[in-house]
Symmetry: D2
Subunit: 344 residues, 4 copies
């Protein structure tokens, strides 16, 4: 069976493993104060074009989202998000468990607009009974989105403008950031990201690391005492160097970008194969996730050799499914799948 | 100016005031352990046809909702509610602040159905990734709803059945219960309510009391240690007898029902006047809240003498407004308003 | 039976009742936006010598403590308090339920010192592992304390200085403030209080009102959006005027001070009687609560006619008990008790 | 510099690293549903003598403690713990952030007794105002304790008995369990642990793994839906197999026990050296942590070559310090330190 159902079915990039082997018996202090974490922070600051940015390492995505959001909001505030946002759908209510409502905005493709944020806030702050409703306190987006779509630079700038109008920090969930930044459809650099939002994270788990997410706070005044919060919510790894080593490796010689770019190319090859075959796409992803609409017969055929994820019913009897590639996907598996698509 | 904008613009029913005056210098123990609270509990148990029911008194509606819900749910569970439910819209995220997501179900008239609950739960519990989403843990409805609509006995029984299938306690917010039970459109007795749900409250604040809500738990095993929870969430009144006295009075000689019935009749007279005049209603309320669609000219005229609540735009340039009557509304004010409706 | 066990066994001062009767059928807008609340706010601002102070009305003490504290602290912060503090002992973990640790400081008489605060903070902020421990984020004291003791002006100023050194807001729980301000042992005016702390409340429940606590925020920038928080935690009374009327009355013609002063005098008379009789006091209260050490025989005698509160064992076989007077305590009951003390 | 300051300064045991290398490019499903996690669960069940025990893997200790405790307690309950317990001192208020008070019991050596639990609960449940205080809802101990001490089988059985009397689940934090089970002072087997408590975890981070803690629930009914809770609190590792591989390796051929036993022997050799030299111990640890009382001169000497942890002042001008060994400590470093102790 060849796995295309998600982007975390393997371990980590061999260069990371090599570094873990080399450093294994070395002794370092804990909790992210080691030299590897320090080196990784430096490289990330450089890649972001901001030597003053704060960089923190956490273990996983849900943990990072809840820690960031709970460290910013006041108790009576909520976070604006696309209704399809990961925090709204797939984190078992982690944000609510931290005390905050996710204020869901309608979205068909996974993105939200500055106009939506503006309208929501305007209506809230002009309401005579605003104190009876949750105050919008920050904005959460993901890039790429859960649907694999991307924000353009103009869209992100418009969002940022709306956020500034209402003093809302803008937070970007970059669980798959590498696959977004290396998409041919992308118009944003890492430096743009670091300039156009207030806090974001660079996903490691899905982009070559064993695990780990690097939170970047361009304006280091935003979250005073963030390390207390990481510790309290269980995200402070005792052997913090494990995170440092991984991000140090990923941000050496552009490894992070290279390995993600390869995955995106593979995904686009799959996409082309489906399109050539006349099999419809669901949405417009040009990243490592491809959403396809299959009929029962096609699924049965593919099931023999491939694992993919069932996303939901298409509404006309067919099924939306997801194929993912990753830094680890082998070209031979992609080629095999393309051949089998043509046979469908 | 005559106020019709809500049902809590006056103090309390004179009979309650009389009792407060008479008992004022009497000495009683605190926290609801006094004889008045005890008497009130007995009368409510009797009215519910269940001498074993647990009865607790709290001060206000938001407090009651959050205390009840947080005492029932486990941390990973959420509460199913109509998207228009008070807990979802008008409590500043009190449920989320207690750690729980409100799982909003679509509703056009304020009610939800057993079928909706069944489908939501079925989908959840059959999902392979259910642990990544919030588990439905209870169901919240209001009767009458925020739109003034009512559940029929069959609808409530169907909801109860769906709840039982998935072991979800059913909670009824009865902030305006009196106006529901005395509506000509109502098919439910207080005893039915006590049989068809697991926990509910009898609203005092909007139905004749100065303040106060009486929580009834028909099956007293449902929430062990509920008094701890009332205290912790700030709902345990030191001079608990104030609540006891109010509910004791309201449940003596059916006062609660009489004064609510009067208000409903007044509301229906207003409704008839609008209908006769050809002014459209918004929705189908037969309780003390009437939702009307007015144009700008009509509003301007009525604004001269009457206060009512703006509910929102109707979508066609007109405005949905709400007129409320209460136990305290004077017949002469209703008559005056009816005359002025006819003049519009 | 004559009740001396606490200061909330009666209803409210007759002047308040009178005002409630007079205004009962008047119509006012809700949630504290009415003219009575406005008038009460003005009078309290004047009494505090600060026309810019923010004033908010809540229903009860636990609710007020949790709402104030949770509105100030960030998630990783705790509140410094005497280990005997009400928030640490008698609120069912309400502060923890809001997410915050109570950082208990040793205290034998209910007070804490600036030196204690300074030392705690110094040790915390100098620690190399400070992020593994709760950050002190504010200081809570009560005046009078739970033991009936009082802070001197110098002690309070010293506390304030330590708070300022570490940027900790100082919060005074004034559940019994009236009994403190009118004690012969008191050296603080209401204006001093308003200058020497960042947020405090003037207790109503135990000092003449049916219920209600008035939160005063001298520097109105301290808690932005406090009304959202009141609503979210269930403390925003629909018929807010009930609170306004009570505090308006209490702060008219110094009623609040007069009625509390009377109670303190009665308590001191009891104290004198016990002392004359050679029965030892527990601690040094010169407010309306008197803590006395009784032996079994004495208790048995007094039990025949008086209710008082058992505070705990004295350690030598005797029992510490509490006698409270209040605005409502009758002179004849005090005289009767004094006679019976002399008979012991 | 040779590090003795804690037991997490290296990576992981070479056998684990080897397994990670071998499996790195293998594809497995996520979130702990892979074959390695399954195999590890089986081996742990076997080692616990309970094939029905539930086993879950989390990443770190604070995360595990907060997830376990918050999944068991109801909102009005707290957790009994030694005042020196990790949850009370070194987790930045993680338990309080989850809504629960840590009910601290006095302890001089890190342990608490069944008698203490019994007395606390008896006093609570007999109190007339129990609802105004936090209800004890479970008991937390660590084995070994933070002081390196151990419970005897009799002590643990007595604790368990007190817990059963009040229906309190007993939770053992086993962050250093391996070092406890292999101490010459230990009288408990892993099977005993699994029989004498309701939930515990086997620490990996400090005992040979890169990271990871294995929660064992002997009676699998205790925490329904624990996986939801792990996900919600951010502890569900996407590549769950990383945890499975580590525990599978540790529980193959008793590796876990062997490597911990070695560390304990090294620690006892250090202890013997200090004792022989007449340098006093602090407390009675016979596990991998040794607490020693040094004077300034001794510290200065040792500082030249060794890192150890300063624990606090001894009260007489000297300093309590901690030396830790671990699975990774090299015999040559221990020998060097012993020589230098003799030179002091």
């Amino acid at each position: 069976m060849k796995y295309f159902q998600c982007d975390y079915v393997e371990g980590c990039h061999p260069k990371i493993l090599q570094k873990l082997i080399e450093s294994n018996l070395e002794q370092t202090p804990g909790y992210g104060t080691d030299k590897y974490s320090e080196a990784a922070r430096k490289k990330i600051q450089e890649a972001c074009g901001n030597p003053e940015a704060e960089v923190h390492f956490l273990v996983g995505g849900t943990q990072t989202n809840l820690t960031v959001i709970a460290s910013i909001l006041r108790p009576w505030q909520g976070v604006l998000s696309a209704e399809t946002g990961h925090i709204n759908c797939h984190e078992t209510g982690a944000i609510e468990a931290a005390g905050h409502k996710v204020l869901a905005l309608p979205s068909t493709d996974g993105t939200i607009t500055g106009e939506q944020v503006h309208r929501y806030c305007q209506e809230h702050f002009e309401s005579e009974i605003k104190e009876h409703t949750v105050q919008p306190g920050m904005v959460y987006i993901s890039h790429p989105t859960e649907n694999g779509t991307l924000y353009t630079k103009a869209q992100l700038a418009e969002l940022k403008k709306a956020c500034e109008e209402y003093h809302l920090p803008l937070f970007i969930d970059g669980a798959r950031l590498g696959y977004g930044l290396t998409s041919p459809g992308n118009g944003l650099t890492l430096k743009d990201i670091a300039q156009l939002c207030d806090i974001f994270y660079i996903g490691g788990t899905k982009c070559g690391a064993m695990f780990g997410e690097a939170v970047v706070i361009p304006n280091s005044g935003l979250v005073k005492d963030f390390r207390y919060m990481i510790k309290q919510r269980g995200g402070m790894l005792a052997k913090g160097r494990l995170l440092g080593i991984q991000f140090d490796t990923l941000f050496t010689d552009r490894l992070y970008f290279e390995i993600c770019e390869k995955a995106v190319k593979q995904a686009l090859a799959l996409r082309e194969a489906f399109t050539e075959k006349g099999i419809p796409l669901y949405g417009e992803s040009r990243t490592n996730q491809q959403f396809i609409i299959l009929n029962g017969e096609q699924m049965k055929k593919l099931d023999e050799k491939y694992a993919y994820e069932v996303w939901g019913p298409s509404g006309d009897g067919r099924t939306i499914v997801r194929f993912c590639t990753s830094w680890a996907t082998r070209d031979e598996d992609v080629e095999s799948l393309i051949r089998d698509i043509h046979e469908l």
